[in-house]
């Protein structure tokens, strides 16, 4: 079956002020099926936010992109804004990082959702207001709160409102960029539960962008790990945790404290990600890798399929008797 949304060989460059460019996303290919929950994981600067912005056609003027973004088989990136626009919000919607703080402070949340509905021509006035009420209820906000201003709502409520706004045109794919980062753990649980039920109830595809591995482990079926602008491993979240085939994935899990494993040694990964404004030689992770060997210095690993839906970009997997650890 054709994937609902498929990104093929996406590359994004940013112009740097003093000439040169930053290769922020390097050859990313990933797909999502209807109803699937995909976690896009990585640390700051790995390119995950840039990837989803490219998906939506929302890159700034200093960016240039190449590749294909296929929505239900059709390439929407090729035609630039003209081909992206019809799909934005109606097919793919995004809850931006910090969206709960970016709501228009001088308009009620209800009116902001109505605006989104009317702008995309889905309904007008009374019908739009009714839809707004339903939307708010579906995200756990009583419909009566539609007349409230953002500052009258708590952080969790504002995040729900932002999610409602993203769902206002019944998209098929929802992108959530760090939806719970600024929230308390209890509110985080509420929001994750909400996203989970929305996916189940509406058959949404969800792309959850986050640096928080446990969140992905709890909510997502499929995980994509990014480092230095490229995908280093992707597969079922279960596989990523129990049988990772890239040292970064393994080390990232090992660096995350976990309840119930209090005596375990928490790992830190020495060094820092490579600079993306210079061409990379060899594996980008090699300087920080604990299992690097000779090919890693000169040859850049390619993302290779290891089994159905599991791929990793690591030379260790090419060894005849490759053992992950």
């Amino acid at each position: 079956m054709t994937a609902l949304l498929q990104i093929e060989d996406l590359n994004v460059w940013f112009d740097l002020p003093d000439r040169g460019e930053l290769h922020a996303v390097q050859g990313v290919s990933v797909g999502i099926e209807p109803g699937e929950r995909l976690g896009l994981v990585g640390e700051s600067g790995c390119g995950k936010t840039t990837t989803v912005l490219a998906l939506m056609g929302l890159l700034p003027p200093s960016a240039s992109a190449s590749g294909r973004v296929l929505f239900e088989g059709k390439d929407v990136l090729a035609g630039g804004e003209t081909s992206m626009r019809p799909h934005r919000w109606t097919d793919v919607a995004i809850v931006f990082q910090g969206a709960m703080n970016a709501l228009n402070p001088v308009r009620t949340i209800g009116s902001q959702i109505v605006e989104a509905i009317e702008l995309h021509g889905r309904a007008k006035r009374a019908a739009a207001r009714m839809q707004t009420g339903e939307l708010l209820e579906s995200v756990g906000i009583p419909a009566a709160r539609a007349d409230r201003f953002p500052h009258e709502l708590s952080g969790g409520m504002r995040q729900r409102a932002a999610i409602a706004m993203a769902l206002s045109c019944r998209p098929k794919v929802l992108i959530a960029d760090e939806p719970t980062t600024a929230l308390d753990v209890m509110v985080q649980a509420q929001i994750l539960e909400l996203l989970d039920s929305l996916c189940t109830d509406f058959g949404l595809g969800l792309i959850l962008v986050t640096h928080d591995l446990p969140v992905v482990a709890q909510l997502c079926d499929y995980g994509v790990v990014m480092y230095a602008g490229e995908i280093v491993e992707r597969g079922l979240v279960d596989t990523l945790y129990h049988a990772p085939r890239h040292p970064y994935t393994r080390l990232l899990f090992a660096a995350t404290p976990d309840l119930g494993h209090e005596t375990e040694e928490i790992v830190s990964i020495p060094g820092a990600p490579p600079r993306l404004d210079q061409p990379l030689v060899g594996c980008p992770f090699r300087p920080r890798c604990d299992s690097a060997f000779s090919p890693c210095v000169t040859v850049r690993p390619v993302l290779r399929g290891l089994s159905d839906r599991h791929a990793a970009a690591c030379h260790l997997n090419d060894l005849p008797l490759a053992t992950p650890r």
Partner: protein, 318 residues
């Protein structure tokens, strides 16, 4: 050249650090409006400073008839005393600029101090100082200047003081707002928790952050000060023994230059004042833009990115 370390992380390449004076210079370099303003202002200041040596004629030498028309030897004609207008402009600019700068200095000192004290200490001190500021804000400038000049007697020194004590209010407010926000920065709180005294915090941590804004404000205040001086002189309250640009306009006005058709006695000084004010505004405005973090370009925008042909893994075009 980057340095990679073993633990705990790589150090990135040093990026150019903007020193305190650097913001002025980098803004002038980067923004054409500031560059133009700076160039023009520098030219005028230079001409004014060098006036005693480069003025074509003597300041008090009558070289022709009253309101003599422009000619090759006198490109801007003669004023009501038969004195060369170009010479007058240079000498007049000296006075106007001196008064402008001096008054600005007075207002900067008062306004900056009050702004820092109010912003840093907050509470009752802030309340009191702001009430005083409001009091001065509410006083109408020109009538006060008239009254003071009339009572005190017109002299350059008095003019400077009068203008200075009226201009400091806007500076105080701007500085206060900035100080208040800097005071909440984490590293200032850290310094307080370390036990640093107020003086150290203000001079070491707060002022360096406030200085660029102070510079921008200073430049803009110069424009207003020069305008105020011109207005005062035009109203006859300037120092009668010194010819400022405003005095030139006043003289011409009093001697019916317009009805005589002698535009060259009124327009050049007025135009020069306007040019100086404009230059200052350009520089000051550009500085303020450069300092305002909220005017940065958004990270997200629609329809503005560019497409490239498909590339292979290595980044080379297919």
């Amino acid at each position: 050249m980057s340095v990679v370390l073993h633990e705990p992380g790589a150090v990135t390449d040093p990026a150019p650090v903007r020193s305190r004076g650097g913001i002025l210079w980098s803004t002038i370099r980067r923004r054409p409006s500031a560059a133009i303003g700076a160039a023009v202002l520098s030219l005028i200041v230079l001409a004014a400073v060098l006036a005693p040596w480069i003025a074509p004629y003597g300041l008090h030498d009558q070289v022709g008839p009253v309101f003599g028309a422009p000619s090759w030897s006198h490109p801007l004609g003669l004023d009501d005393g038969g004195i060369d207008v170009v010479t007058l402009l240079m000498w007049g600019a000296r006075i106007s600029l001196v008064v402008g700068f001096a008054a600005t200095l007075v207002s900067m000192v008062i306004g900056g101090t009050i702004g820092v004290l109010a912003g840093y200490f907050g509470g009752k001190v802030d309340g009191l100082l702001m009430r005083i500021t409001d009091y001065f804000l509410v006083i109408p400038d020109v009538p006060l200047m008239i009254v003071v000049a009339a009572i005190w007697g017109p002299s350059l020194f008095h003019i400077v003081i009068v203008i200075g004590i009226l201009l400091w209010t806007s500076t105080a407010r701007v500085i206060r707002a900035q100080v208040k926000s800097v005071r909440e920065r984490v590293y200032v709180k850290r310094a307080r928790s370390l036990g640093a005294g107020h003086a150290r915090i203000v001079f070491r941590h707060v002022l360096p952050q406030v200085a660029p804004l102070l510079i921008a404000n200073t430049v803009l205040t110069i424009a207003v000060a020069i305008f105020d001086e011109t207005a005062l002189a035009f109203l006859g309250l300037g120092d009668p023994s010194r010819t400022s640009l405003g005095k030139m306009i006043e003289n011409a006005f009093q001697r019916a230059a317009i009805s005589s058709g002698a535009w060259w006695a009124i327009v050049p000084p007025g135009a020069l004042v306007a040019i100086v004010i404009l230059s200052c505004s350009l520089i000051g405005g550009a500085l303020e833009d450069a300092l305002n973090p909220r005017l940065r370009v958004a990270h997200i925008s629609a329809r503005t990115f560019r497409l490239r042909p498909l590339v292979g893994r290595s980044g080379a075009s297919l």
